[in-house]
């Protein structure tokens, strides 16, 4: 497995993936993910023309051809956006499809003359990592270093242009130069990338690492580093898989592994991830159920004027809740010493009474706030208070009490139960 070809491919893809991830991060943050895709497609005619006019085997010609085509495409998009009423996504698609179509046309012309096959022009479409030569590897290393160096050098410029371009212009930064530098770096990244993953899949290499990394961090330097790591891991994984399995292409595997990172990040990410949100939803539901039961018991005590117990059946009738969910909630409340089980049912402990009183208090305070501050009628306020009693924090409670001047009763003339100090 560790033959020279494998090592060559591995190094090449690692360099390429990590450096394009860093450059692509800024397109991702600017919400211009499609522009990288467009530039990748637009490079095709440049690459094929370079092949026709120059020496197709020399990477230098390809890079120059790609650079010219990429810059024309980029400024073409900008020109259309500024001078016509077309929306930006339309301008991008227009340039992408026209350039790509022209590139395919040129390719079939070259293919017909017969020189195409021997140079393997089709590798630019879907990529062919196994075709990486020693010369390519030197060029890749040079370009990857150039990309990382460029991103480091222009870090402040790229950061500010991405976050707030108007401000960058207002403080007199050379926005045109910064944008030009960024375009050149993107085109270079794509030029290297299309040899491995091809024009069609290049966007994945630019954008997916950042999409994955953004889920895990909110610091730009850390996001860039993480994107490079994800891309390297994908390059490693993709190269190994394609080497281990017979006749497997490297590029698509890299992109697939990247996609796996991207989707798992969306699921697993802290706070914004799908799992975290599920957990939050469950915890909110549990909190609501617990507090409703405590409120129910507190209300029964308030009416009776003394501590009372309620059976689970009576609670089901009162709350219209499922029996199973209820018994589970009761079990948890018991474990936390908020209720005790007695022969005649469940009753509040002192701790539980404080909690129940708090929920009732928040409910009545919010009802009063709605009538006093939002001018709502007394018969409309109950449903909202049912929710807000579980949401209001002690800080907000203090604000409400202060704003309403320590009120005694709610709009239905029920007393607002404060804790006695």
């Amino acid at each position: 497995m560790f033959d020279p070809v494998f090592i060559k491919v591995l190094l090449g893809t690692l360099l390429l993936a990590s450096s394009s991830a860093v450059v692509g991060a800024f397109s991702f943050l600017k919400g211009e993910s499609l522009v990288g895709d467009a530039i990748a497609h637009a490079l095709l005619p440049g690459v094929v023309l370079a092949f026709i006019l120059g020496d197709g085997r020399h990477p230098g010609y390809l890079i120059i051809g790609a650079l010219i085509a990429g810059l024309i495409a980029h400024y073409g998009i900008a020109f259309i956006e500024q001078r016509t009423k077309l929306k930006s996504d339309t301008a991008v698609s227009l340039v992408l499809s026209t350039f790509f179509g022209f590139g395919i046309l040129l390719m079939s012309y070259v293919q017909r003359t017969g020189q195409g096959q021997q140079a393997g022009l089709e590798r630019f479409l879907l990529g062919k990592a196994a075709a990486i030569t020693m010369v390519d590897l030197y060029v890749f290393t040079g370009l990857a270093l150039l990309l990382l160096l460029g991103a480091a050098l222009f870090y402040k410029g790229f950061q500010l242009m991405t976050f707030n371009e108007d401000f960058a212009a207002a403080i007199g930064l050379p926005t045109g130069t910064i944008r030009f530098a960024f375009t050149v770096l993107t085109v270079l990244a794509v030029t290297v990338g299309i040899q491995t993953v091809g024009v069609v899949l290049m966007a994945a290499l630019l954008i997916t690492p950042s999409a994955a990394a953004r889920s895990w961090t909110s610091s730009l330097p850390r996001m860039l580093l993480l994107a490079a790591l994800f891309a390297s891991a994908a390059a490693l994984g993709g190269t190994f898989i394609s080497a281990a399995l017979p006749k497997m292409p490297t590029g698509p595997w890299i992109v697939l592994v990247l996609g796996f990172f991207g989707f798992s990040s969306l699921i697993l990410a802290p706070e914004k991830g799908w799992l975290a949100r599920r957990r939050r939803a469950t915890s909110n539901r549990n909190k609501t159920q617990r507090e409703n039961l405590l409120k129910l018991l507190y209300g029964a005590e308030e009416r009776a004027g003394e501590p009372v117990a309620m059976t689970a059946e009576a609670m089901v009738d009162a709350r219209e809740q499922h029996y199973e969910g209820l018994t589970k909630t009761l079990r948890n409340l018991k474990k936390e010493f908020l209720v005790v089980e007695r022969p005649d049912g469940f009753a509040l402990t002192d701790l539980g009474r404080i909690e129940g009183r708090r929920v009732v208090r928040l409910h009545r305070l919010w009802e009063l706030y709605l009538t006093e501050r939002l001018g709502m009628a007394a018969d409309h306020i109950h449903p909202q208070a049912e929710t807000m009693e579980h949401v209001i924090t002690p800080e907000i409670e203090a604000l409400i009490v202060k704003e309403l001047g320590n009120p005694e009763v709610d709009p239905h003339q029920s007393p607002i139960p404060y804790e006695e100090d």
Partner: protein, 266 residues
């Protein structure tokens, strides 16, 4: 009167439709100045043109008697809060430090001095304890204060702010107002785009009333009169808006190509 901003015969269009018609005024130094007018009256366009972010069709602007490029480091700009994506991966300090970026330090690292100035600016807007907070977690009022801290970090002499009072809570509004008055007492000039008539009279010393054309500019006692306000807020002049549509439809150039402005060479 010592002049801060001069606007000479300024016509600016957006998508080839004029949004400012031959606007001409001068502003004093060391005052809090409001650019006031109804929605779509060209207030933001005015500010962006002064900041060189939009090219005028005709006319020109000067700051401290010079073209913008000569005095850029003395000018600070606060864009509208909604104009950026607050989900950007940065913390409060990162954004305030952007106020220290200059053309000549673009490729250099942030210095200790930059950090000291940024910290001072955060202190002034009462956000020092939020320095490490992600900007996505800030309230609207806090976001606005971050933007103001960034502009303070520029250590300029004139501050141009686009709607700094929109969507902020009462406490932030008071804090900003107090800050503006402190700045004025230090001899700074503050120019604010503002759409709310209720508060304009209280906030500003000097008012520019705009409604695609200049309605009035001067000390607020002279400008804040019933007649002038009615003129500014009583809708656009029919002839102007019809002509604007016509120019936009026919893409007619607003100046003949060989027309010479009587602009001093700067």
């Amino acid at each position: 009167m010592e002049k801060s901003i001069e606007v000479h015969n300024l016509t600016v269009s957006y998508h080839s439709k004029p949004v400012l018609w031959d606007v001409d005024f001068e502003l004093p130094k060391g005052k809090i100045i409001g650019i006031v007018g109804p929605n779509g009256s060209g207030k933001t366009t005015m500010l962006k043109t002064v900041m060189g972010l939009m090219k005028p069709d005709s006319g020109y602007t000067e700051i401290f008697g010079q073209p913008l490029d000569k005095v850029r480091e003395r000018v600070s700009y606060v864009p509208q809060r909604e104009s950026v994506d607050w989900d950007f991966p940065a913390d409060v300090m990162d954004v305030v430090l952007m106020g220290r970026y200059r053309k000549n330090n673009l490729f250099k690292r942030i210095t200790k001095e930059d950090r000291r100035i940024a910290t001072e600016a955060l202190e002034k807007v009462n956000l020092l304890e939020f320095a490490d907070r992600q900007i996505s977690q800030l309230s609207g009022g806090q976001q606005q204060r971050v933007f103001i801290a960034r502009s303070l970090a520029q250590q300029a002499d004139i501050y141009l702010m686009d709607e700094p009072f929109v969507g902020v809570d009462a406490a932030t509004e008071d804090a900003i107002l107090k800050l503006l008055r402190d700045m004025k007492n230090e001899g700074k000039t503050v120019v604010i785009v503002h759409h709310d008539l209720q508060t304009a009279n209280e906030y500003f010393d000097w008012i520019v009333l705009l409604n695609t054309r200049l309605v009035a500019a001067g000390p607020k006692e002279q400008v804040f009169t019933k007649e002038l306000l009615q003129e500014a807020y009583g809708g656009r002049l029919t002839v102007l808006s019809k002509l604007g549509d016509l120019i936009s439809d026919t893409e007619f150039p607003l100046r003949e190509p060989d027309f010479k402005e009587d602009q001093p060479q700067g």
